[in-house]
């Protein structure tokens, strides 16, 4: 394989990992009947937490855990609004995104004012940098450890949702909350737990972005990646395995955009940066929304 293809494939994998975690978070929540439009905000908050904690502790794993906790906390806040009250899930999601965007750029400015250098340690960028020149093995050694975690998470999510009892219960709450309630399931509690888990997955996605892709933070670092993950979930018909593939596709788009831009192939570089967004629009256009979990997006009121 030529080195261009190898580095392109590596970049594809690297750019796909944040999308994969986020897509799993969205998918899990929607399977239980709650839209997780707040994914963008959860990713942003996760990314900032991860970068700041990594700089402070110089330990990327503590940073990863902190990011997923941040995401989980936002998930719980979101569940207060969308499950307990319940308010409109889309409006709450949009508001969460706006709040997180504002809050992260405020905290980011404060860290700059305090003279912090927000450059995260690069230890999450590849799992075994020493082996990168070995043929074949070198390719897999250059993946981020988070990429392997993401793959395991995809498989576990699939098995959990479609091969276990609790997974079936979770999906039943997404298909018909009232039927699930009648069958003795505590829908409110279930959705709260699910949003917490979904938030922590999206926070992880943010951590992957902040620690393994850019190693830093800027205002609106995610640049719509949460919504690209959202499109990937619809594209993949709420199936974790297909979502993995869709995220790889969108990751490839992102990788291609930067590569083409660097190669300077004639066109204005900003055209290439449009690629992931235009690709997402085309994907949505080709495949439409499809039929998701029937009760996703509907507020659930007991009784």
């Amino acid at each position: 394989m030529s080195s261009w293809i190898v580095s392109f494939l590596l970049a594809t994998m690297r750019d796909a990992v944040p999308l994969i975690f986020a897509a799993l978070g969205i998918l899990l929540a929607e399977r239980a009947g709650v839209l997780n439009i707040g994914v963008e905000g959860q990713m942003l908050a996760g990314a900032l937490t991860a970068v700041v904690i990594a700089v402070l502790t110089q330990n990327v794993w503590i940073a990863v855990v902190a990011a997923s906790i941040t995401g989980a906390v936002i998930g719980v806040i979101q569940s207060f609004f969308t499950v307990y009250l319940p308010a409109d899930q889309i409006v709450v999601g949009i508001a969460i995104n706006g709040t997180c965007l504002g809050l992260t750029s405020f905290i980011y400015k404060i860290t700059i004012d305090k003279g912090m250098q927000l450059i995260a340690p690069g230890t999450l960028q590849s799992i075994a940098p020493g082996l990168k020149d070995v043929p074949v093995i070198g390719f897999f050694a250059s993946w981020s450890p988070l990429a392997y975690i993401a793959i395991v998470a995809v498989v576990l999510m699939y098995l959990f949702l479609f091969r276990t009892g609790p997974g079936l219960l979770l999906r039943s709450a997404g298909e018909s909350a009232h039927a699930a309630h009648a069958a003795g399931l505590n829908v409110t509690l279930l959705r709260t737990i699910v949003l917490c888990a979904a938030g922590s997955l999206c926070g992880l996605g943010g951590a992957a972005l902040g620690l393994a892709v850019v190693r830093s933070f800027t205002d609106n670092l995610t640049m719509g990646r949460g919504f690209i993950a959202l499109a990937a979930v619809y594209f993949a018909r709420w199936n974790p395995l297909l979502a993995f593939g869709a995220c790889l596709l969108f990751g490839a788009g992102e990788a291609l955009a930067f590569r083409a831009q660097a190669a300077g192939v004639g066109l204005n570089p900003y055209y290439y940066l449009m690629l992931p967004y235009v690709m997402t629009l085309i994907a949505v256009g080709l495949f439409g929304k499809g039929r998701g979990p029937r009760d996703a997006g509907k507020p659930y009121l007991k009784g």
Binding site: G41, G98, D219, L230, N268
Partner: protein
């Protein structure tokens, strides 16, 4: 708990939301090491203390009130237009292109430029609309994707075909003074009046026209509206195109009244502020009130930074936090009513043609 406040309820929720949001903002200022009261007072001073400050606030207001309307009008039919930012960018580009390249008497060019910005804004909504109506795709994703696409397209234009060859960064040339919107009295630009006029017009349309009633019907209960013989898709498409056109106009007005050119990073996040303003405004006149508050925050934030050292980014909290509080309060009141049985059947939409 509050039960049945009738028509004063939105005002009450809005007031409580504003106070709670300011409290949270004050707490954040405290975390940043400043006196919260000083910081918030500095915001209001920076936005209102003198003629210059008030004019700057009005300039922001003209943009935010229009982008707020751009969210509100589609929202009434159940469409979340989060693509305001992209629509602003396209509208601004259209105004600049027409302002620079059309040769005619100044005021004619000005009017064509404003019309062009309306059309360009509406064009930015065509793809999400098509995907929603034809493919059932949620506009929440597609309008966001259009935002990035349009902003990047603006970058393509200002660093490429429209770039001022003399400039060191991506910017267009300035539109000539003849095509700019005039200053009317006390230094207030005509652009501010355009924003006010559009809001009043939209208020009248919403209240006194068939289209206004139909939009409300579609937004309140889509299937009932359909059963009532309303062409729901057509009403929604019209509302979205009007909304997006108004966002485009926001861009056009900013160009012709205040910034005169499009450049890298020329715009503020008007489109995103419009989301919060549109949600909380409730009706076009309410949008004006909320937009003015947002304009104060935006304009005064620099003064706060200068006076207290709290980063101006603090006010960007307002892009989401008040909406969260607002919908939370709204839902809490609705549920408590629903549980107590009060007002269970008070809201009824009667559709007649």
């Amino acid at each position: 708990m509050v039960v049945a406040m009738g028509r004063w309820q939105p005002l009450f929720i809005g007031g409580v939301t504003l106070i709670l949001s300011l409290i949270v903002m004050g707490l954040c200022a405290l975390v940043a090491g400043a006196n919260p009261v000083t910081a918030i007072v500095a915001i209001f001073e920076g936005a209102l203390k003198g003629r210059y400050e008030v004019l700057a606030t009005l300039a922001e207001f003209s943009a935010i009130s229009l982008t707020g309307l751009a969210v509100l009008i589609p929202l009434r039919t159940g469409f979340f237009n989060i693509g305001g930012q992209g629509q602003v960018e396209l509208g601004a580009l259209a105004a600049v292109v027409i302002g620079l390249f059309v040769t005619a008497p100044g005021w004619i060019v000005m009017i064509i430029a404003l019309l062009g910005s309306l059309v360009a804004g509406a064009l930015a909504a065509v793809v999400p609309l098509f995907l929603r109506v034809q493919r059932g795709a949620s506009e929440v994703t597609t309008t966001i994707m259009m935002n990035f696409t349009c902003v990047l397209f603006m970058y393509v234009m200002v660093t490429g075909p429209l770039k001022d060859p003399k400039a060191f960064y991506g910017t267009t040339k300035l539109v000539s003074t003849a095509v700019r919107l005039p200053t009317l009295f006390e230094g207030i630009n005509a652009g501010v009046l355009i924003a006010l006029g559009v809001a009043v017009l939209m208020y009248l349309v919403g209240r006194y026209t068939v289209f206004g009633l139909q939009s409300t019907a579609v937004g309140c209960n889509r299937s009932a509206a359909l059963a009532g013989g309303i062409k729901v898709d057509r009403v929604m498409v019209t509302a979205v195109l009007i909304g997006a056109a108004i966002a485009g106009l926001a861009g056009g007005v900013q160009i012709l009244a205040f910034s005169f050119r499009v450049a890298e990073g020329w715009s503020k996040s008007w489109g995103f502020q419009g989301i919060a303003v549109g949600f909380m405004g409730g009706n076009p006149l309410g949008v004006l009130v909320v937009a003015f508050i947002f304009a104060i925050l935006e304009t005064g934030s620099r003064n706060m930074q200068a006076m207290t050292g709290v980063p101006a980014a603090l006010v960007s909290l307002f892009q989401g936090l008040p909406v969260l509080i607002y919908v939370g309060l709204q839902a809490a009141i609705r549920i408590s009513r629903w549980k107590t049985g009060a007002g269970r059947s008070r809201r009824r939409v009667v559709v007649t043609r």
